[in-house]
Subunit: 485 residues, 2 copies
């Protein structure tokens, strides 16, 4: 019915063999069916696919990877398709297949004595969290896309989120993985051992490799008991240096209690309260900056409220914070988090903005904010820097909103100047150009300058060793090799 | 003066060039000087070295690695020479150089706000712990060789120890590493970022690779605040199932408090109290098994004593434990730990014994103990299984003492039968043949059966990609390739 020939028409034999392996339900070729798999949700990339393959289990996945390898068909693994950097979108050639893990969506087991969960790649993070909670535990990984993002992608990109400072990234929560390697062989690493020193850490290599070294099919995830007490507090501070002191005070007492430590600028908070209905800052005066602290413990008898009052009282006395409010109810706690979570939306409503998902060593966060604020103001007078985010793990969303009244297009025309300015300071502070979102196809060009020399060379050697035909998510993570390099 | 020609005499030019690079203090060639570097401390391996090279910094190390690479000289990195598996001992060819990191022994910095420490490879674990303590923090990694073991080796072997269940292995405590790669290039990965998703996890690959992929020169280590309260308790239990229930109870309440959870058999405890002077079990009756629990917290106001009494009271009421004693003083706590730490010495005094450093998923520990005990008793009537160790992370030292009165040599002649019997059960329970000690040159032969297929193939590909001449600690970790494989 479609006029332009679909890529699949070019390779009918191959499609027939995929269908033999997966059944009709496992193979999508019609452009109408494949369209949503060929575009990323940020709408940055628009590709085409020879087919979308949907294996139901590891054996089927291994079979199609072997077939692709045999016929030099490039493969793009995809889960919930929530990449921020085009990491799961095929190119425009129509030669690539998208391998969609959505049908492998079982929570296989939860072991309450061992605090572990075995989940397949296609389970959404939200479904995994829910299954853990129903069993009385917590999967302490939370990101804004959790309703759609699937565990395979969560692991392949080493997802982070709000609670990294307490529980680590996806990497630290993963005890074992099973994966199909680029040649279609199966890495049987679905172990749940806390100690196992028997050779190279393949699990670690696969985690964060963004599907370029293999496709994770199943994982063993470390659970935690659910907190029995949670206290959230919003603190007013004079600047990021004071916020850092507050973090030091909390960690010196007990880092195990600090579940979130989110920084917000006064500018960002003003945008939220002026542009988002139903938000107010429940503190006396407007402050130059704020910290949302969340303390939590599974201890049934922890007196966490008293502890929180004590430590914030001490911070007030020492002049580290100038004001603070502790949520008195779940509703109030949600209200404090709303102030933080609406930052992105408020910035959107304020006009054009430029985003930077960067990280630096935690102690350098104040310097990052100070220097990048000054540098951007010098670049574009009236620019509104509104840095916010996971200060407790050094990951700041250094976002900049256009000056009031400026033409948005004129502001966005300066995007690269702004990003380069921020990146230069982040690099000078030994930071990262991609704290959480990975490299995908958006940022490989940054790799030589940031991770060059022996590091990029080793990555290239590993890629060539494990995927000599460059069939596994090609064009992602690593930049094209320079001629002669 | 020596009669047999030293290996160095065969390559005088090379030695001269090493000396140019490192100075005379950096190059040992005389057999008297090199002897201690050519034997492992268990006295299992006796090699020879072309020279022992002692670089003073990363630049010197990189220069000698480049020179070795150029001249096809195999390199054996060595720190405190405390490997249990011959991981740092050269072969008998006299062609290899030992690269000793001892002179790179500075604690470069401690960042109290970020809770991190920057240490060079040659710093002993003990010196690193002491430096952290003096700065008011804790480096929560403790192994029995810590007075000699150096940080480079600790990381290269992903060391574990008593506190893994709370703080993780060396891997989980390491934020960044610098390393010299097999070609002499330097991997500048000395980052201290909690979030950094920019390509493959080279740091993770180097950690645990036992010096076969590169030489770690410096690391950023995560510190913790010192505990302000510690409670140790010895609990009597009927069996390992009961011990597992106790672990579950403690973790469900607050896993962050459980710093150690050590299992001991009644048999093992009998050996300690009968053979080690000054040891007694401070409980009413002899029990079939024991658990040494240590709870700790940095919280100043934690009421940890009351908490410990409560939770052990609950365990008594529920019949999980049959008796318990909480240490009333530092001296009593040391006394409880002595019961645990003297297990190896008591077994030595009881005659010949066979050791197995294995791990299984925590929930399988009771089954491991039950099945391996029965299987070994069937193999050799009267054998005395005395399993003990880190039950909280699934790592059991499944040691077996000879029957009373049996000829030790006759018992040891059955070593391999015993080890194979235990290994077969561990494998059946998805465990590991080397929980903490690594592979070295003692255990590569086990890799094909335990980590074969796609896993070993990927390891070989990675090794060949990063060290194509096989010059970096050859013969360690990976078994020789089979002809045609």
């Amino acid at each position: 019915m479609t006029v332009s020939p679909s890529p699949a028409q070019a390779a009918p034999d191959l499609i027939a063999r995929f269908t033999d392996l997966l059944g009709p339900v496992g193979v999508l070729v019609d452009a109408t069916d494949t369209a949503s798999f060929c575009t990323d949700w940020r709408d940055l990339y628009h590709g085409r696919a020879l087919a979308v393959l949907r294996p139901a289990n590891t054996a089927e996945l291994a079979a199609i990877v072997r077939l692709c390898n045999e016929h030099d068909v490039p493969m793009v693994p995809q889960g919930g398709n929530t990449s921020m950097v085009g990491g799961a979108t095929p190119d425009g050639s129509g030669r690539e297949v998208v391998i969609c893990l959505t049908r492998m969506n079982r929570v296989r087991a939860i072991d309450p004595a061992d605090l572990t969960m075995e989940v397949e790649a296609g389970v959404t993070l939200k479904a995994a969290q829910d299954a853990a909670r129903e069993a009385g535990f917590m999967l302490p990984l939370s990101i804004s896309s959790e309703g759609s993002a699937q565990m395979g992608g969560v692991l392949a990109t080493n997802a982070g989120g709000n609670n990294t400072l307490r529980y680590g990234n996806a990497r630290e929560l993963t005890l074992g993985v099973e994966a199909v390697m680029p040649d279609g062989s199966v890495f049987h690493g679905l172990r749940r051992l806390r100690k196992d020193n028997t050779g190279y850490a393949l699990r670690q290599l696969l985690i964060g490799s963004e599907g370029t070294l293999g496709i994770i099919t199943t994982a063993i995830i470390q659970l935690h008991p659910q907190p029995r007490a949670i206290e959230a507090a919003l603190c007013a501070v004079d600047d990021a240096d004071a916020a850092l002191k507050l973090l030091g005070l909390l960690r010196a007492r007990d880092p195990a209690l600090v579940q979130a430590f989110e920084f917000m600028s006064g500018t960002g908070m003003d945008l939220v309260t002026s542009l988002i209905a139903g938000t107010t800052v429940p503190l006396g005066e407007r402050a130059p900056a704020y910290v949302l602290v969340e303390l939590a413990t599974p201890r049934p008898d922890a007196d966490l409220r008293e502890y929180t009052e004590e430590v914030l009282g001490e911070a007030l006395e020492e002049g580290i914070i100038t004001d603070a409010v502790i949520a008195e109810s779940e509703g109030q706690r949600a209200g404090l988090w709303k102030l933080r979570e609406e930052h992105a939306e408020a910035q959107r409503r304020a006009g054009a903005s430029v985003k930077n998902d960067v990280s630096v060593p935690v102690t350098h966060v104040p310097e990052l904010i100070r220097r990048a604020t000054a540098a951007c103001a010098a670049l574009i007078p009236g620019i509104r820097p509104a840095p916010f985010g996971h200060m407790g793990d050094g990951n700041i969303h250094f976002n900049l909103v256009q000056p009031e009244g400026m033409d948005p297009a004129a502001f966005l025309a300066r995007s690269h100047d702004i990003m380069d300015t921020v990146a230069g300071i982040v690099k000078d502070l030994d930071g990262s150009f991609s704290a959480e979102h990975g490299v995908g196809q958006l940022k490989p060009y940054m790799m030589p300058a940031w991770r060059g020399g022996a590091e990029l060379a080793a990555m290239r050697h590993i890629k060539a060793a494990l995927d000599p035909k460059d069939l596994m998510n090609p064009g992602k993570v690593l930049p094209p090799a320079q001629p002669g390099a």
